[in-house]
């Protein structure tokens, strides 16, 4: 093996996976490897800003700026109402079309990905995605799967179904959800298996779009929120991390006209930011609470005016650094957000809108790491009450401080990098 192995990181085209990979790549670089990124169109420069070399999948006609804008416009008007549905109602309305789109992208990039991998000739590939790409399995080097969604992504009888947000004890609902999930994903799954067959890859079982890596699989779920699996995952092949929190510059607290009160950070990710009506309603509630709120509104700052004196909006924040100085984190249940809150010992108020946000919201309540709010039915009074009760819950805060201490002594990024390099060198 090369003295400085080249590790190609291939995150899906989202911020969660992308920034999770940045954390691991920072540590790989520190440990002497040469991490490089394979980027989807649109992510050009995102990883270069962290000092990593980027290789780009080509822009297609479908990805032209104009067609992407049309796509998003249609996506927003179609799916915004679906985010108010419960997880089982989202299966036909949101999850099924999303899987169709994911399968489309996997098929579309396959040939270009194979060409890029042949050019990079990596010593290992890190795939942080919810779907497998045959080009990766055939690249002639070990590949590592990063499970950056909730632990539910790896099924087990002791784990609730992926994307359900249902407690595992509720067996009847879990069974109904599993059945409906397989039904709703069948068409895209059949299509994906056909594609795999055309690339001489074995079929995957219903509802499963990616297999475990034979070499190494990394899971982010910290021990504080892990499930008691009925079939334990083989330790050599599956490594749990204590989160995987990246380093960002220190957060400079903005000057609020209101100078006191605890700091509360709110972010629903770039997708959640499209629901400006909901965020505006929340800001009206924030104005009545004796705290200071930093709110990530993505690229939609122009949708807001009359901002209260205790609220500060921005289109991007160095999130781990903001969470570190916050007393409460209001988020959508994205796995990075949940892990960052735990890493810094901050309670979560989770308002999920889709995907594994439901799973993390349920897990936050079940493990006492936070509370869940239903985005469709909250009122000013209930939201205010949830925020105040979490701010005053000293028992939870103390418990979370303990979890934070434990996570911070076992850096997830460091362990990930060490394990990957061991796997690449064959010492694992």
């Amino acid at each position: 093996m090369n003295q400085s192995p080249t590790i190609a990181l291939f995150p899906e085209a989202g911020f969660g996976a992308g920034l999770n990979c940045v954390g691991i790549a920072q540590e790989l670089r520190r440990q002497g490897a040469n991490p490089v990124f394979i980027c989807h169109p649109g992510f050009t420069g995102v990883f270069a800003e962290y000092g990593f070399k980027e290789y780009h999948l080509p822009q297609t006609i479908k990805n032209s700026a104009e067609s992407v804008e049309d796509y998003w416009q249609s996506f927003i008007s179609t799916h915004r109402p679906h985010f108010n549905l419960n997880s089982i109602e989202q299966l036909p309305t949101y999850v099924a079309p999303t899987w169709e789109a994911i399968v489309d992208t996997a098929i579309a990039v396959e040939d270009d990905l194979a060409v890029l991998l042949d050019r990079i000739k990596p010593d290992a590939i890190l795939l942080d995605n919810v779907i497998m790409f045959p080009a990766i399995a055939k690249a002639g080097c070990p590949w590592v799967r990063i499970v950056s969604c909730a632990e539910t992504e790896l099924p087990d009888p002791g784990v609730p179904p992926y994307l359900s947000g249902i407690p595992v004890e509720n067996e009847r609902d879990c069974a109904a959800f599993r059945k409906e999930y397989e039904k709703c994903t069948r068409a895209s799954h059949d299509r994906y298996n056909k594609f795999r067959k055309s690339r001489r890859m074995p079929d995957l079982p219903p509802g499963i779009f990616i297999e475990p890596s034979p070499t190494l699989n990394l899971l982010l779920a910290p021990s504080a929120i892990r499930y008691d699996r009925k079939v334990p995952l083989p330790e050599k092949q599956f490594v749990f991390l204590e989160g995987c929190v990246r380093r960002e510059p220190a957060f400079e607290l903005p000057a609020f006209p209101v100078t006191d009160g605890p700091l509360i950070y709110t972010s629903f990710g770039s997708l959640g930011a499209i629901d400006t009506d909901l965020i505006r309603r929340m800001i009206d509630v924030f104005a009545t609470i004796p705290a200071r709120f930093v709110v990530n509104v993505g690229g939609f700052e122009e949708s807001y005016d009359h901002i209260p004196d205790n609220v500060f909006l921005g289109n991007w924040f160095p999130q781990p650094s903001v969470v570190a100085v916050s007393a409460l984190f209001i988020h959508h249940g994205g796995n990075n957000s949940f892990c960052e809150a735990l890493f810094h010992g901050v309670p979560s108020l989770v308002m999920p809108y889709c995907w594994d946000g439901h799973d993390n919201a349920q897990r936050a309540e079940a493990t006492g790491a936070g509370r869940r709010v239903d985005r469709a039915i909250w009122t000013a009074q209930t939201l205010r009450s949830e925020i105040m009760s979490l701010l005053e819950d000293h028992e939870t805060q103390e418990r979370l401080r303990g979890i934070s201490r434990q996570m911070q002594t076992k850096s997830g990024t460091k362990k990930a990098a060490e394990t990957i390099l061991d796997a690449v060198s064959g010492t694992r």
């Binding site: 899906e12 085209a13 989202g14 911020f15 992308g18 989807h40 169109p41 649109g42 992510f43 420069g45 995102v46 270069a48 800003e49 962290y50 000092g51 479908k62 990805n63 700026a65 992407v68 804008e69 998003w72 416009q73 996506f75 927003i76 999303t98 899987w99 169709e100 789109a101 994911i102 489309d104 919810v130 380093r247 960002e248 510059p249 220190a250 400079e252 903005p254 006209p257 770039s270 997708l271 930011a273 499209i274 993505g298 690229g299 939609f300 700052e301 122009e302 005016d305 009359h306 901002i307 209260p308 004196d309 500060f312 909006l313 921005g314 289109n315 991007w316 924040f317 160095p318 995907w355």
Partner: protein, 283 residues
């Protein structure tokens, strides 16, 4: 420095690369705040004995400088104030006299940030506070900043460039946690303002100086990773190197590269199965 040390105006004027007039004005403010004392025929002397005292006094100066104009500007940049404002509404919000509000608005109008409308209303001018306006600002700068360098008569202010170099060096050698985005923005604005002010073309100079004032006033929300902050600082040093060697064409090209790298933006939105959205949606 210790209690009773003499502070010669000339030395500070040279260190800061400015004339003695602003130094004298600054010393007067420090005297009013009892940080310095003035002795007839001798000049200014330090009247603080401990670092804590000096820090506290400087904080007080900072608060005094945190004027009504600054508060109005911050609130506008943070979308707390509407585009059109009346003096009486501002007077109520800030519990300030009408006269104080008028002075603040006049200060802001000198920088082109507000203009008086017919009647009693005042209107804020567009700021650089949205993805589209940030993009337009980069378009403008990509045209004008290289032009500021290659226009005949460019003359680098060596003293100010030297001061800037030392600030950049401090930034580059600071611990990662101390090299903040806010610290970066201050130096970055000083650097680009220096380039503008050294231009030989008075119209380019005027437009860019005004634009950098607007950039400074606007709340540019984007945070950047430490790597890019440091990389951009190194690019500043490389441009200064070329300017000091009178390689103006090279410096102008380096400026283009620097601005093009700086304008790279993250997608506005991303989700599984959808190509990332580069610019905000149309509605």
């Amino acid at each position: 420095m210790k209690l009773g040390d003499h502070l010669p105006e000339q030395a500070f004027s040279e260190a800061c690369g400015v004339s003695r007039t602003p130094i004298r004005s600054a010393f007067k403010i420090l005297k009013l705040n009892e940080i310095l004392e003035w002795r007839q025929e001798e000049g200014y002397f330090l009247s603080m004995s401990t670092a804590d005292q000096a820090t506290k006094a400087l904080q007080e100066v900072q608060e005094a400088e945190d004027s009504l104009a600054h508060r109005i500007l911050s609130d506008r940049a943070e979308r707390r104030l509407d585009e059109v404002q009346s003096v009486s509404a501002l007077s109520r919000r800030y519990s300030a006299s009408r006269n104080a509000v008028l002075i603040a608005l006049k200060i802001l109008s000198q920088d082109g940030i507000v203009t008086q409308l017919p009647g009693r209303a005042w209107a804020f001018q567009p700021m650089i506070d949205s993805p589209k306006s940030i993009d337009e600002s980069f378009d403008f700068r990509l045209t004008m900043e290289p032009q500021a360098i290659v226009a005949p008569g460019f003359s680098l202010d060596i003293k100010r460039a030297g001061l800037l170099r030392s600030q950049i060096d401090d930034f580059l050698h600071a611990e990662e946690i101390r090299a903040t985005v806010g610290g970066f923005r201050r130096i970055d604005n000083d650097f680009h303002s220096l380039i503008a002010q050294c231009s030989g073309n008075r119209f380019v100079r005027g437009s860019l100086v005004a634009h950098h004032r607007l950039r400074k006033a606007s709340r540019m929300g984007n945070s950047m990773p430490s790597f890019r902050l440091r990389q951009a600082m190194v690019e500043h040093l490389e441009i200064l190197d070329s300017l000091e060697r009178n390689q103006f064409d090279l410096a102008a090209d380096q400026m283009i590269v620097h601005l093009r790298r700086s304008r790279i933006r993250r997608p506005e939105a991303a989700n599984r199965g959808i190509p990332p959205l580069q610019r905000g949606p149309r509605t």
